[in-house]
């Protein structure tokens, strides 16, 4: 560490150049942090999803329905703690441009399956008692100013009720807080029993069984058992963990992994040239200074290490700044809303540090080698 002052001073030999190079590196790692952060954020968010929840859907596609009769059979599989269900309602408020993600369910069981949802027990009771009741998420309630006791008309493009209308009326009996689940939890629930009675067609069908397990380690076994149970039924099933389901849905959208990696690759490749050039220039200008160090007894290896350390310092320092900046961006309220409690994953930060070291070595090595090979007599004579 006693050489630090020497390395540090060498780094700032030309302030403008070092600052400009640094800004470029900072920006490269800002981009790296943002893209890989989002990428990893998705991945870890998916991995964090509850493994003790399974989603059962029709094998042929999640929009194909399954019979309600499966419910009791799934409930009887050993190791199953609770089972609830979702049937798409496909709602909207006033016009189709204001979608309301509404699902028909069995609220008592639903709250057993989603233990992390915060709801007052009396709301669950009220829901069980009110046929036309609805439980809604707090953000949705705030959006339209709906309160408990309100009667709201919800349109649906799929279902016509027995009165021949596409607009169904529901009584709001309670609200819930799904923040602990994160984004993507449906925010409007109606009673499946009422829905099934009142719809004109599709009776007895639903789209998902959500299964809560006693022991997450049993997830693979129970998934297999459920699927085997319905192997030769009219509707075969497919059972997935929550994270597997989310992952496949995300993949439908785009291969975020690929895009992030491709862009980051291009950025880092460009960066390599930049830092390599800065280091080369800096070594070239210091030929006589390096020769003096050698004259004073600094060995060839030591001089090589000094130059490499300088490159390392430049890259690591700038990379840390860039990643810190990206972490700061993630703290922005708008993004917090989008991703839910999101912060720079440790993995990305350490990966960034690793890449910074790599860039430092690749770009610092040629000039460091040049410094190592420097002949004192020639360099001092200005040759």
């Amino acid at each position: 560490m006693k050489y630090f002052s020497l390395v540090w001073a060498g780094l700032w030999r030309k302030k403008t150049r070092t600052v400009f190079t640094m800004i470029s590196i900072v920006i490269a790692f800002l981009l790296f942090g943002l893209l890989q952060g989002i990428n990893q954020g998705f991945n870890t968010a998916l991995a964090r999803l509850d493994v003790d929840r399974l989603y059962v859907s029709a094998r042929t596609g999640m929009t194909d329905g399954m019979p309600i009769s499966y419910l009791s059979r799934i409930r009887n599989v050993p190791g199953v703690r609770a089972v609830s269900m979702w049937a798409y309602f496909g709602g909207y408020y006033q016009e189709a441009r204001n979608p309301v993600p509404a699902f028909a369910t069995d609220a008592v069981e639903l709250m057993k399956v989603y233990k992390e949802i915060k709801i007052r027990p009396e709301y669950i009771e009220a829901m069980a008692k009110t046929r036309t009741g609805a439980l809604i998420g707090e953000p949705l309630a705030a959006k339209y100013g709906w309160k408990v006791g309100d009667r709201v008309p919800i349109g649906t493009s799929i279902w016509t009720n027995k009165a021949g209308s596409n607009t169904w009326e529901f009584d709001i009996v309670g609200t819930f807080d799904a923040q602990a689940y994160g984004a993507g939890f449906p925010s409007f629930y109606l009673n499946y029993s009422y829905f099934d009675e009142a719809r004109q067609f599709g009776t007895g069908e639903l789209h998902y069984y959500i299964v809560s397990l006693e022991d997450p380690k049993q997830a693979t076994r129970i998934s297999r058992e459920i699927d085997e149970m319905f192997a030769n039924s009219s509707v075969e099933t497919r059972t997935q963990t929550e994270s597997a389901l989310a992952q496949s849905q995300l993949k439908q959208f785009a291969d975020i992994n690929f895009i992030a990696n491709a862009i980051v690759g291009a950025v880092l490749f460009t960066l390599l040239f930049l830092t390599a050039n800065t280091m080369m220039q800096s070594v070239r200008e210091r030929t006589s200074e390096l020769a003096v160090l050698k004259t004073l007894g600094y060995s060839d290896t030591k001089v090589l290490l000094l130059v490499l350390t300088e490159s390392l310092l430049l890259c690591l320092f700038a990379a840390a700044l860039g990643i810190a900046l990206a972490a700061l961006v993630f703290e922005a309220p708008a993004l917090q809303k989008l991703f839910g409690n999101f912060s720079m994953p440790m993995f990305v930060a350490s990966m960034g540090a690793g890449i910074a070291v790599l860039v430092a070595f690749i770009s610092g090595f040629p000039p460091a080698w040049r410094a190592r090979q420097l002949n004192i007599v020639d360099a001092l004579a200005g040759r």
Partner: protein, 396 residues
């Protein structure tokens, strides 16, 4: 005139010394090439998507959906409504006076991508018997057309290329039916090439449904659209929205293209800032390498404008080279590559499209490069101009 001669002379001198500064100059070229390549390739996604969506649909075709539906997904039309739509004014009719239209429905099939085995949803569209008249652009390129009343499908060219198990003779399993692939079709590169097509009545009977989702009608002419729309609106028994087909598909891809463009400009913008600093670095060192030369020229009476312009010109040329390389790289690597995303009918099905590095995009990339070059060259140029002559001469 004198000034231009000066600028020319000094610039020529700069370029002559350029080979001595190759590695530094290369930084600008490579840096800017990187920015432009990323910007252009990401934007190529949205142009590709827009292009696919814009070739989908014709001005003389209209889609009828239920009132208030944003997309076919959220639309439903019962048989009675379809019967009323058939009587709409402005629909093109054949010799016998029968209207040329297709009442359509669709469902989602789960398939796997060839590239990474990812499970994706693909649209199976049920169409009416007059399919070929409504969509004359549809051509069978392999196999044959499906037969009504049997579970047979034809698959779009893009779907065939991108997804597993869609060769002629393959069987696609879905609830209630196993569909046999009997042919491959193309529709001039539009969005339908990402989907599968079968007979609407077959699909209805398998799904035990009686309703359709939309009606696509061929109009007498593009201008007949208003007549058609008015005649349906005037019918009190109908509650439908009528949109030109082209307009409909353009709307469908809007969100996606906006997202892609935002990503492109945000990422490209951040990279550009980085490149500006790289260019600043290079141009500053170019100026300081030529300090003596500049001071000498100034002492000889060359104006400071000539200095500024010559440095700017050098930055611009380097940026231009970088921009062109970047645009060409994007074009060479990505033009014509197929990718897919959610974007088909109502955002439910996978939409396969080609990245399109259009000349406009390449020009846009080069313009960005030039802006970066000018920004990166400006301050070093001013420094060269402001240099006190006597001091610079002494410093050497």
């Amino acid at each position: 005139m004198k000034m231009f001669r000066q600028i020319g002379a000094v610039t020529a001198m700069n370029f002559r010394s350029l080979p001595q500064r190759v590695s530094t100059s290369l930084v600008v070229v490579i840096g800017i090439a990187g920015v432009v390549a990323v910007l252009v390739s990401v934007l190529a996604m949205s142009t590709g998507l827009i292009r696919t969506m814009e070739t989908t649909g014709r001005e003389d075709r209209a889609i009828v959906m239920r009132n208030g539906s944003v997309a076919e997904t959220s639309s439903a039309l019962d048989r009675n409504s379809v019967r009323l739509i058939v009587d709409g004014a402005g629909i093109k009719r054949d010799e016998k006076g029968e209207p040329i239209l297709s009442a359509e429905n669709f469902r989602i099939l789960m398939l796997h991508k060839k590239a990474d085995d990812a499970e994706i949803s693909v649209i199976l569209r049920g169409v009416g018997p007059r399919l070929l008249e409504v969509r004359p652009e549809l051509k069978i390129v392999e196999g044959r057309m499906f037969q009504p009343a049997v579970a047979e499908v034809i698959v779009g060219k893009s779907a065939h290329a991108q997804f597993k198990g869609l060769n002629v003779g393959d069987v696609v399993r879905s609830r209630g039916a196993n569909w046999t692939v009997v042919g491959v079709f193309e529709t001039a590169g539009d969005a339908h090439e990402s989907s599968l097509i079968t007979d609407a009545e077959t699909l209805n009977s398998i799904d035990q449904r009686g309703a359709f989702q939309s009606v696509t009608a061929l109009l007498e002419s593009p201008s007949a659209f208003q007549t058609f729309k008015d005649s349906l609106s005037a019918n009190p028994a109908l509650a439908v929205d009528v949109v030109r087909e082209r307009e409909y598909y353009r709307q469908q891809s809007k969100t996606m293209t906006t997202i892609i463009s935002v990503i492109a400009y945000v990422v490209g913008g951040i990279m550009a800032v980085g490149a500006v600093f790289a260019a600043l670095n290079t141009m500053y060192s170019a100026v300081s390498a030529r300090l003596q030369e500049i001071a000498t020229l100034r002492a000889l009476g060359f104006g400071s404008t000539a200095m500024v312009m010559s440095v700017l010109a050098e930055a611009l040329v380097l940026a231009l080279i970088g921009g062109v390389i970047g645009a060409l790289l994007a074009w060479a690597f990505f033009n014509g590559n197929t990718v897919s995303t959610l974007g088909g009918a109502g955002g439910l099905g996978q939409l396969v499209f080609e990245l399109s590095v259009s000349p406009q995009l390449m020009i846009l990339g080069v313009v960005w490069a030039c802006v970066i070059g000018v920004l990166g060259g400006l301050f070093p140029a001013l420094r060269a101009a402001r240099l006190p002559v006597a001091m610079a001469l002494r410093a050497v």
